[in-house]
Structure formats: structure tokens, C-alpha cells
Symmetry: D2
Subunit: 459 residues, 4 copies
């Protein structure tokens, strides 16, 4: 027996966090917010970013916030000028980086569009995901090599996409690394089941999504749920009634999503896939449509609205003009309010330090958690996090028909990583050709791929 209760530690552990991508305008603020309210650990955050100035301003913001009266945490924020310095002696490494959107996302999305290939997200699979993978592999090799040298025992929390390829690259370069890949998509699915619980369970008005347990298995952005429970009660059985109630699924009007948020999700694609496979996909519809051949053959991009989602144009990826959020906080133009962020990074760090065990879904090399996916491939399932340990929970096998579909992407991702390590563009192109979104004939596919690679080379 092993107790899973919260441990009251004698002393507050001191940790050193190395943050790669620390100049960010979103995730960095959440971390500052959460650490400011975390009192059972303390320490230092070293912010590193290719844009040193942005990291420096976030460090300044972190210091300001921590010094405030309403902040109980005891943290120091430093900006550093190189990767090694950021990772030197780190206990925890956070990776959350993004390529310059103007130079990458725009091409990842806009060039394929000229060939009739529409991608709502373009960060995992499809032409955009493949190009992004090819860019990420050398970056992540360097990160893994630096970790091996500076902090081989650190826990690495990766938030960067393409999640599977980045995490796989870390392990390929440094097999002893202790890395996990984290993504929010499954939380949406917990929310859906929380709603189903409130609707269908007698005498239950509202359910905290964090209390909903879902069994997850698959790969990031294409992972699947075949069990959902709340307080020991089965919620999964309500899906069929819900499917019936939402049918016909694709009944939004073309054009109706024109002003919707790019992140709007109505679970319509998810229910359609549930109907096909008997398993519920745990990712937003905008991700799901990129993994299968059935939704993105669009004559007019607005047709996608029928499923309650819209394409995200490349312009939407560009930062707004004017001062950044950090700059606005620092200048006082905006007030940095401490909130309950809902982000679990600090809880994960606390679990790994042995303070409070946690079960969550994450991306990790397969060692049995999905019994019929290949060993070593990075899969997304639940795991138990305890003191210095991440242990995936078994999720069983994917249903046969679904397995072929997922396996095709696993093989593509594994091949991309191999191609990236070998610098083999031909193999990468073969992956490109077998992506479900690439329905072009060979010559057109070759021309698109070459153009994408060409643009790439410019950076």
C-alpha cells in the first residue's frame, strides 16, 4: 500500500525552474500568477527567450507581482541570455516556445491554402504540422542536449507543439530525460462530461470538471476517451442520448461562425467521430478535423461552419500591434490581477516534489499504457505523478478500426523524427504525401512541399 494523501513537509522545498520561451505574453503570466499564490514551495525562475528583452520584462513583472502584498509566494525571477545558463542546475524545465508567427505560421497556413488545403490549426499534422515538426526537431535536439549537460535529473514540462514530435525528439536525443508533454485539450472533454452529469444525473446541479475522471488513450490532439466517471458514477452512458439530441450534427449555417472565436468548439465533429468509432475524441473539433479525411474537403472555407467551427486565418496568429501585455502591466496601463488560473503546471511541480500526488493526462513514451500502439512512441494517457515519479496508467487497447487511423499518424510522426535526425527530406516528403489532408497529386504535392521548405530555409 502506498498512501496518496497530501504530505505536510517539514521544510519548504527550494526549486530552480528554467523556463525556455520565458518572454511569452500568455503562459509566462499564468506562471507568475500561480507561483505568486503557491506557498509550499519557493525558489528561482530563470527566464530564457530568443527575444531577451521580452524575457527581461517578464522577469521584471514577476518580481513586481511577487513583491505585492497579496502575493504569498517567495520567488525570484531572472532573465538569462543563453540556454545553458537557464538550465544550469534546474530542477524543473518548462518549454513553451513559439516560432516567430509572422515568418512561419503565415506560410504554414497560407501556402497550402493556395493548393486547396485548409487547416484550422496547422500545428500538429497536415502540411503546417509537418513543416513545424521539421523546424522543431533540431531545436528540441539542442534543448535535450543542453539538459543532458546542465540538469540531467530535471523534470521537463513541454507545452510546445507539435507536442508529440517535440517530446519524442527529447527522448530520442537523450533517452534518460524525464520529460512530459502537457496540453489542455482534454479539459474540454471533462467539461462536456460535467455538463452531461448535471443534465442527466438526478439531484445534481453542477459538477466540477476537475472531479470528472476520463480514461484517455491516443496521441496528442487525437486522443480518445472510453470511460467517464464522477464520484464513482458512470457518465459515459449519457453520450448516446446526447448524440441523438444533437443530430443532425453539421447543422450550423455556413457563414454563421464568421465572427465566432477561433477557439469555439461545439463538439460536433467529436460526436460524429464517436458515432463512427464508439469512442469519444478528447480534443477540440478544430484539431480533430485535421487528422481524418472527412471534413476539410471544402469548396468554400465557410462550409466548415456547418460543424460549428471556423478556420483560423494566419493573420489571427500575429501579435496585435502596440505595447505587449507585459509592457502594459509594467507601465500600469493594465493591472495584473491574481486569479485562480486553472493551469496545472504548479500542481504538477508540487506533485513531482512529493507534496501532493496528482492524476492527469500527459504525453509520454508508450510502455504499455496503450497496449496496441507501438512501444516507445509518445502517446497521451493518464498518469500518476508522485515524488520524482511519473507512472502512466494503463488505458487498454484502442478499438481495431480506430487503431489503424491513429497508427497511421504514429508512424508518420515516428518517421518524421527519424527523417529529422537523419536530415532526410525525401522521407519527410513521404510523410507529407501520406498525410490525410494532402490529397494532391504527386506533382502538386511536390511543388507545395518544395515551396514550404524553401520558405523555411529563408529563416
Amino acid at each position: 500500500m502506498h498512501h496518496l494523501g497530501r504530505r505536510s513537509s517539514d521544510a519548504i522545498p527550494e526549486v530552480r525552474i528554467g523556463y525556455i520561451g520565458g518572454g511569452s505574453q500568455g503562459w509566462a503570466h499564468t506562471l507568475i500568477n500561480d507561483l505568486a499564490q503557491c506557498t509550499d514551495i519557493a525558489g528561482t525562475v530563470a527566464l530564457y527567450d530568443v527575444d531577451y528583452e521580452a524575457a527581461r520584462k517578464n522577469a521584471e513583472l514577476g518580481t513586481q507581482v511577487t513583491d505585492r502584498a497579496d502575493a504569498d509566494g517567495d520567488w525570484t525571477f531572472d532573465a538569462v541570455r543563453d540556454l545553458s545558463a537557464a538550465l544550469s542546475g534546474a530542477d524543473i524545465v518548462i518549454c513553451s516556445i513559439q516560432d516567430p508567427p509572422a515568418e512561419t505560421f503565415v506560410h504554414d497556413i497560407d501556402l497550402p491554402k493556395q493548393y486547396g488545403i485548409h487547416q484550422p490549426v496547422a500545428d500538429t499534422v497536415g502540411p503546417g504540422g509537418i513543416l513545424r515538426s521539421m523546424r522543431a526537431i533540431p531545436q528540441y535536439r539542442e534543448i535535450a542536449a543542453t539538459i543532458r549537460e546542465q540538469c540531467p535529473d530535471a523534470w521537463v514540462l513541454n507545452y510546445t507543439n507539435p507536442m508529440t514530435v517535440c517530446t519524442r525528439t527529447l527522448y530520442e536525443e537523450f533517452p534518460e530525460i524525464k520529460a512530459i508533454g502537457l496540453c489542455h485539450e482534454v479539459f474540454q472533454t471533462q467539461e462536456l462530461f460535467a455538463e452531461l452529469a448535471a443534465t442527466h444525473l438526478d439531484g445534481v446541479d453542477a459538477v466540477d470538471p476537475d472531479e470528472v475522471h476520463v480514461t484517455v488513450k491516443g496521441i496528442n490532439h487525437f486522443t480518445w476517451v472510453d470511460e467517464a466517471r464522477w464520484r464513482g458514477r458512470d457518465l459515459y452512458r449519457f453520450l448516446d442520448a446526447e448524440l441523438a439530441a444533437r443530430t443532425p450534427l453539421a447543422d450550423f449555417d455556413p457563414g454563421s461562425m464568421a465572427d465566432a472565436s477561433y477557439w469555439t468548439n461545439n463538439y460536433r465533429v467529436a460526436f460524429d467521430l464517436y458515432d463512427r468509432f464508439g469512442c469519444f475524441p478528447a480534443a477540440g473539433d478544430r484539431h480533430l478535423v485535421e487528422f481524418v479525411p472527412w471534413y476539410l474537403e471544402l469548396d468554400d472555407p465557410d462550409e466548415l461552419h456547418r460543424w460549428g467551427i471556423r478556420l483560423t486565418p494566419s493573420e489571427a496568429r500575429l501579435p496585435a500591434d502596440g505595447p505587449t501585455p507585459t509592457e502594459r502591466y509594467l507601465s500600469g496601463a493594465e493591472t495584473f490581477e491574481l486569479t485562480e488560473s486553472g493551469e496545472e503546471a504548479v500542481d504538477i511541480i508540487r506533485a513531482l516534489l512529493g507534496l501532493e500526488p496528482l492524476e492527469t493526462h500527459l504525453n509520454y513514451p508508450n510502455r504499455g499504457q496503450v497496449a496496441n500502439l507501438p512501444d516507445g512512441a509518445v502517446v497521451e494517457t493518464n498518469a500518476l505523478l508522485t515524488g520524482d515519479a511519473v507512472t502512466p496508467l494503463t488505458a487498454g487497447s484502442l478499438p481495431r478500426s480506430l487503431r489503424s487511423l491513429v497508427l497511421a499518424h504514429v508512424h508518420n510522426q515516428e518517421t518524421l523524427v527519424e527523417a529529422g535526425f537523419d536530415g532526410d527530406l525525401d522521407r519527410a516528403f513521404r510523410v507529407f504525401l501520406s498525410d490525410p489532408l494532402v490529397t494532391l497529386e504527386r506533382e502538386a504535392a511536390e511543388s507545395l512541399f518544395s515551396e514550404l521548405v524553401e520558405r523555411e530555409r529563408e529563416f
Copy 2:
């Protein structure tokens, strides 16, 4: 050591052949032709057909031909009125049946066409293949059950499509059956390599395709070759030059195939798939295009001509009016000439009787011949045929990316057989939904499937 040479038998073996579908106007004539010239075995052929009259006329023809002076074989042909009588005491069972084309093929092809789904063959996968499978499963269960009862030790040669599903059904119903599934498609690939040999090998003018050895692995009509040799010389290495010479592959004019034979094959799709996967597909292009999502999204059916093939309209499946070939032979309107048919059924029978060993490709439950396809699924590989024994030859593994693609069809076929045994239309519909040719949305797919099943029920 086990000698593989021809054995001169002391006595001519007497065999009893039960032929299901014995009223046919093609295959039956070939068998009559080949037996008439086969002198080292002798015996009886019991012809059974749902159309008894057709079987009876073929028996009459068989008797006439055997009695001719130029026929050396010693065979008796009888038409029988029921399946059990045909199989009673059989040493060899031949299955080569076809549903009434007017009532089936027409719907299999024409209904999907109304939904924009074009199928050149419609006998294996796609809407037509799935419906045909659903019809075949109960028929083949009955055949297997009758074999178990009447001739459990007989060798069963199946020529009927859908090959994989029919053969798999035989084994599912009667696991001890000794059945093999036979198809001609790979012969074309041997012909292609024979041409390559003549073109590329110095001092070689012509090569007998039967002398070309190809290593085959996959499933019927979607099987793959990764080795080709002639007299110990590698022919596979010539593919790249040939690919380059034929590029661009899809350069036939739309419309240019309007008068071509429905069976025309220019290997253009085959080379395109070779280019994608590094493995050469051993089936005609008209079959290949049905297994992948890349060729049949046609606005105008003539676009398919670009690949050097054409759609086979349902009318082409209907028998011509007027007297049948058998009737014309019997009436003397046409002369039945003894030819070298090239068909290998009689050679296979001779091999199984221990007369002369044979290596050929065939369809058989997997027990390692394709190492990374599921055990028990019916796969197509080479096998060695000796006295009362069929032993598949190991073909190794399919390349990873190809494996996912083949596996998806294997899973579909396995699921169809399960659905057929359980009478579960919902599971069959799920297979329908995941077929690469079915790119319809759920509602449309459901409506097409229902219509197809409805028509089915009428028969």
C-alpha cells in the same frame, strides 16, 4: 533436405472435383480445356450451379471435348442438382461463383455513383465490395458447412471475390478447412518485371513471366512486391529508372480511354504508389485506386483516364444477349479449340496430389508470412505447394507507412466477417463509414447504405 523434383507416379491418381459455380461461361471452359490436356491425373468433375441448366450444358461440353481425339485426359463430367451431391467425397473443391450481375453489380456500382462515389471494380472494397461481402458471407458459410459434412479433407480452391472475405469466412465457419484463395492479378506484375528484364538486362531479349520470381505480401488486390528476380538476377532495381521514364504518370488525356478495354492497365497508379511507399503494388490499377483516397475524387469520371484506366460501367458486367458461349460450342456455332490456357488450377491440383511441387502466390490465413499483419487474417503471399500441403513462404514485414494503410483494410474485412456472422448491420455500417471511398457525411452515407441494403433484401 526434401527434393522438390517432379515425381513419376506409378499409377495415375483418380480425383473427384466438385465445382461450385460450374455453369460459368468462362472459368468452366478453361478447366475443361486444361483437364482435356492433363494426362497424369484423371477422374470426375461434378458441376453444380444455381442455374442447373447451365451446369448441365457445361457437363455436356466437357464430355464432348474429352471424347475428342486431340484430348488425352480421362475425365467424366456430371451436372448435379444440389451442393451436397457436388461435394460428396470430393478431393478438390473449386468455388467460382458470381451473383446475378443484373441484380447486384448494377446496384453496387450505380447507386454509389449517384452519391459521387466511383468504383472501377466494386468487388473487394468500397460500397460495392462491402455489399458484395455481406452477400457472400452467408453463402460461404453454407459452403464451408457442406464441406465439413461431405468432404472435410478436400482441398478448396476459391476464385470468387471478395477473395479475402470469402476465404476468411470458410475458415471462420470450419477452421480445419484446407482452403486457398487464388487470383490472377500478380501475374501482371510478373509480366511487367519480365519486360523490365528484357529492356534492362544486356543480352536478354525476352523473359518468360513465369520465370520471374516476385516476393508478395499484403491482401488480395492490395498486395505488394519488394523483390523481383529472374534467374538469380535482381530486377527490382530497374523500377526507379522506369518510374523516371514514365513520369509524369497521370498524363493520359481525359477521354482517351473511352474505347479502351475495361481491363487496360498501364501501371501508372502502381508506379505512383511505388513512389510513395518504396514498395510496388501487385494488382491492376483499377483495383488499386479503390483502396486509397487519392484517385477517385472525380468531378467527371473521364478524369480517371489520366491514369490510363477507365471506370467499368455496370452494363459491362451484364452478359451479352443471345446464346451463351457454351451453347454456341454445343451447337457448333463456335469451335472449342484446345489451347495453352496459362491458368494454373490444374497445376495446383497436381502439386497437391504430390506430382510436381509449385510455388505460387495465394490467399491464406496469416501465420507469420506477413510478420506485421494480424495472425489469422487472410493475406496474400507466396506459398509452396507439395503433396497435400500448402506452406506459406515468409515475406517479412510491410514498411511501416504501408502497414497502416493495409491494416485499415484488414480490420475492415475482419469486422465485416464478424458482422456477417453476427448479422450485425450496425457494425457493417461502421466499416462502410471508414472505407476510404466513402467520403460522404454521415447522413448521406447512411442513406446510401440503407438503399444498398434495401435492394439487397429484394433478392
Copy 3:
């Protein structure tokens, strides 16, 4: 994210526990003790035993204890006369049964001894384990069938040996059963590592074994540990020093264990196996020696003492004469003291009711938790227990050389279950022949097996 913290329930759950083997003189008392102190659940315990009188007296004892002032729990104890009544409507089923020792254990141990086969425990493998399995399979089929009928949704906690075979039988008979097999052996290993922590970690005087986390993988009584941690600190690395310190391992004097407890364990065999395989076995030495061919070839039984263990003679399995413990408690001859039992059954029940999550090791059908053991075989690993859910934790693969050894027993156990369901004594005898303790020649083995089966039949 899914919180693992303790849930304060609004109401105290009412549960019904069906206890098969409820007349026991050990385990039943522990349960009475633990429930008497459990205040966050309440309910009824239905005690069933083939010896009804014993169950009735335990019910009387349970009622007495619960009514005492120092007992806070709210429980009702009833003895019932048949299995169906015990299980009717149960939420929890506990199985802890034992064959009449006089009629079984004696023969299981004494007959093989006449053939030179010594077994310290004889409850899992070896001649005794095999015979016990053959007796258990029909009993457990009946239990599973009754559960299917009376309480299909109940959680079943099995404590009976042979653990693997009993648990496997439950699933074979009723695949939807929710059963887990529980055994204490791994706790000893936690104790060993707790000692190592106290010895080797600076500034640590004593460590609670319950706080030691060990990663478990294998089969019951032959399971293995390859990670041990306490508060995030690696303890496994201390094994090598400990091995060196204890070498030579087999250095106890023959005869020196003559008066030792039968359960004495000095981990000498465990360290010897650790030395061979690099993995530490998590079971007492008396169990371990029965699984491998290296320790029990004894000319004189006292030779076994060299390893710090002794054989348990069959007499030791017989109950003492005179009043039973229950009778002594009821008569007042002995006082039933409430203690901290260390037994985890009540914690498991509380976890399954959703009150407090628990991680423990248990026996469960493999679905990936040990990646290189067969799917569906019952394996022993860690699992997470939450509201109405048991989720095995992935333990990775066994090292290659160890895997063959474990696999041989897995195959034997699977074959025994099949033989038991088919009533096939020949297959059971083949298992007998391939057991590592059966080094007899065929004729002798056959004669021993027949004698054992013969005795069996008498009961």
C-alpha cells in the same frame, strides 16, 4: 487533471459486504477489528462458510465487538446458510477460503515428499500448488457464476491462494466481473527498503514502510521490483551494497532454523535472485524457492536452512486442538483488543467507494501493465484505486531472461485454468511435468500425480 485528495462525503455510504469463508479464525477477526474502527462507511456483513457454525460464531463476535464503547463503526454481522444469500445485493465480496487442511494440505505436501519433492508453501506452484489449483477452479467458477447472478456490479476482493489461478478463473467464468486479488508479500519488500533507507540515508532514522514506493511487476509470489523510492529519493541503488554485505548468502547453518517461525524470511534467496537477474523479487524466500530449480534439490530438508528459511511441515497447517480463537473471544477466555491491523481491505473498500484514493499492488488481468507478458493473464502490479475504478499502473517490461522464467509459469497457470474448465486431466499432467519442482522421470511423475488426484477424489 483529476484531484486525488480525500473527499469529505456528505453522507456515510451504506455498503453490503458478502464474505465467503467468513468462518475463518484469522482474517475475519481482522475485518471485525478494522470495521469497528471505520466511521466513514457503515453497513452489513453477510458471513458465509461451509462451516456454518463457525460463521455464526464470527457474526456473534462481530456484533459484540461493534456494540462495544470503544468501537465507533456502525455495522451489522449476519451469518447466512448459502452462497447466494451471502452475495445477494452485495456491493463488496470478500473471498478468503481454505480447503480443509487435514484433507488437502497434508497430502499436497506429504505425498510429494515421498518422491523427494520438498515444498515450503505448496499453495501456488509445484505439486501442491497444481493440485490446489485443480480443486480451486470449480469452486471459483461457482463463485463467479453466483456473483454474475446475485451482484454483477460488486467489487470482489480475493485473498485465496492459488491467487493467480483463482482470480483468472473468476474472469474466465464471468469476464465482466470486477475482481482484484490481494496478497501481503510485497509489504515485506517495502519493509526491507524502509530498513535500507534508514541505514543508508543520512539523517534518516526510521522510515514508514507504507511510504516506500516500489514498482511491482510479475505474478503473485513471483513478482519483481525494479524501482524503490521514499519521498522522491531512490532506494534501489542501495541493493548492491546490501548484497555485498550479506554475501555469502547461504551461510546459515543447516539445522539452525529448526525452531524458527515457519514464516521467517531473511531475503537471502531474494538477494540471490537479484544477483542473477538484476531485479529484486517481492515475495518471501519460502515462496521464491518454489518457482525456480535451484534451491529445493535437497538430500536433507535441513539443508534449506542455509538460506535462512525452513520447510513448513504439513502438521503446521492443522488447526490447534481445543476451542478456536472465536470461541475463546466469545467465552471471555481471551479479550478481543482493537488494534491498528495494518490490513488494507477496509482502505480498499473506502477507495472504491470514492472516499480516499489508494495506490497498492494487486493481481489483475494484464492489459499492458506488464508490457511483455501475455494479455489477459493475471499479473501482479501496482494499481490506482478510485471511486468504482481500479486502474493498473504501467510497470514496463520484465528483463528478457526473467521474462522466460515468469512466462513459463504464466503459461502453466493459463493451461491449468483451461484444463480445469475442460476437465482435461492430461493437460493438467503436462503442466505438472513442466513444473520446475517436478524433476522426476515420467513414470514416477505419473505415479505421484495419480496418487494426488486419487486422494483428491476422496473429498
Copy 4:
């Protein structure tokens, strides 16, 4: 279809054979004999041996024999002084080498005997087999490296033991090598079945063992047969009657084999194993007893006689004093008679040159031929040999219980090869400890292993 008939070649192929171990006094003579009678190929044999003088004399003998009137073959024999020269430009490489018996076999057998470990052969498993493997791995690495350099396209026929380890080493060092391992043991099994055919089939007096087809699967010297046919008739079914007739199996008198040939084989162990596993082992009893724990626990070595075999003392491995057979042939003291050797090497060469296809059993990396043994391990099964191609025939799976036993040796052999490549004596010692013949306790085992390694080092 691919014809398997004999091909009449236009021209006689010229081949170059490099023979490593060409100074042998047995195998070299057989090759000279067989080539002298082989008229459809011709060429050169380069004999290489660490004992150059012996090779030179064999070359002289080869030339003499070929020049004789009764020899039709056209061959040149040359002795060469180094390995590279022997292999330069070779089409065929033959490896049949032996360590100096006086310096190796003696210790391999005699040292373990002092510890009570008896080995009849000591060339594959057991202490002798393990030591021999450790010696062979560096030798075979060098051979493979020289082949890669001098004749990468040659076919390599290995006859040296330990067969599995030698062949596996060739592939580990040079994965593209075209090597097969050849052993005679299975021929004995064909002889047994030929006798059974003559005994049990009506009207059959004698059967040519070469006409008996057996399906082989396992590893060298521990391979298994589950099908036997002659002219399409099942022979396997006669085993049960034969087993009954031979029971009790171990009924020879101790001492009765004192003067028997060391190679005497009465199939008694084979039938005992058949009785245990339902599969018939295809190797001589003297090999079989070394793979399992049941036969070699001997107080007195003569006890082994009961099984109809005897131990081969190390002296028996030493060459007789006086002139060697080659010397006797050259001096005319003995006449070299051309015989029908029964050896198949020349038939194999002819098959690989495309002259006449052959089916035989051989050792080859697993790629599906034994479905439930690990991929890449060297296994023994049937294969089809055609022009420049070796294709293993599928043999299906080993029965579960047998598989564990075989797998343990496969894992040991794989680990030995890894240990050999890494120069890791500790891993080799672990293999030693888990060998079934090593029932010593750790300290004794360590001391024996050290002594063996020490002696080794002296050479």
C-alpha cells in the same frame, strides 16, 4: 506461378568457393568427393585454415581426386595463407572450423565434470556451449567483417557450432550478409519417420528419408517437428503408437552403452519430450538432454545409459595419433573412394546458382517463420532455396509450454552475443547462471566460470 523444376542451363556456371577451416579431416573430404561428381557447376576452391599445412594437403588431395578418371567435375583447389585471400571474390563461403580440441573441448567438458555437470556434447548450451560461444563470437565477427570487405554478395554456409551464436554473430556484425547455418540433426528425424512409414503404411516396404517432409521449428539442436508427410500421407499420427511400444523409455541398463558409439541415438529422450509437449524434437538425444533440466542430474554418469545414450568423454574429441586421413590418402595408405555422400552442400550451392530448387531446414534470422519467437533471432526451420534466394517457410507457432523453454535459450543466446560484442563478462556469467545445466549455487558457479574463462585466456 513460379516453376520449381530443374533448369537446364546453357553454360556451366563458374563459381569461386572460399572454405574457412579447409584443413579439416572430415568435411573437406566430403566436399572434394561431392564436387568431383558435380558436373553442372565448376570452379575454384580456396582452402584456408589456421593450420596452413593441413589446408595445403587437402588442396593437393582435391587436385589429385579431381584429376582422376572417375571424377567428372572440373575444379581447382588452392590453399591460401590468409582469410582475405580465401574470401576475395568468393561466390560461396563455407565455414566449418573447430577450435583446437586439446585446448578447448577438454576443458569445456572436464572442468564442469569436476562440479558434477555432465555434458554429452558441450557445443551449444551448458557450460561448454557458453564458453565455446564466447570464443566463437570474436572469430565470427572477423569473418563477417572480411566478407563485408572481400565478397559482400557471397552466400555463406556455416557448419560451425555453436550454430545459432555463430550465425547470429555474422548478422550482427554485417546485417546485409547472406548467411545460412546448416546442421544434420534433422535428417535423423526424417529417418525415424521413414521407418515409421515402412512399419505402419500398408504395402510400403521402404521409404527414402529424403522424401519425408517434416515441418521444423525451433532453434538448432532444439528444434521441433509437428508435421511429417510422405507422398502426401500423414506420418505424424504413428508417433503415439510408437511411443506406447517404446514405453518404458528409459529401460536400457546402466553400463550397457559403455562400448556404444558416442553418436548412438535411440530417440528415447525425443519420445519422452514428445510425450511431455506433444511436439517431436528433431535432434539427437545427446543434444536434447543438454537443453532441459531433466536428464543430466547424474550421480553416476552411466545412469545416462538408461536413455540409450552415453556421455562423450573429452578424450574422444582428440584426433588419433599418427598420420591424418588426408596424409593417408596422399601416401596411398588409404584409397579415396568416390561415394554418394548424402551431404547436401553441393545441392545447396546448385540451388543458389539457380540450377535446381531445394527445400531444406536451415538456421536463419526469424522474420515470421516461427511466429512466436523473437524477430531477428536465428531459428531453425525449413526454407526454399532458389536462384540467389533463401526464403524461410512459415512453420507457425510453438505450443505455449514449449515456447517458454525455447525462448529461455533464445534469450540466453541473444544475450551472449550482446555480451560478446560488448566484451561484458558479467552478462555472460548471468547467462551461465540461468543455463538449465548449471544447478550450482552462486559461489560454485562463479568459481567454475572463472576457471573456464581463465583457461580460455591461456589460448
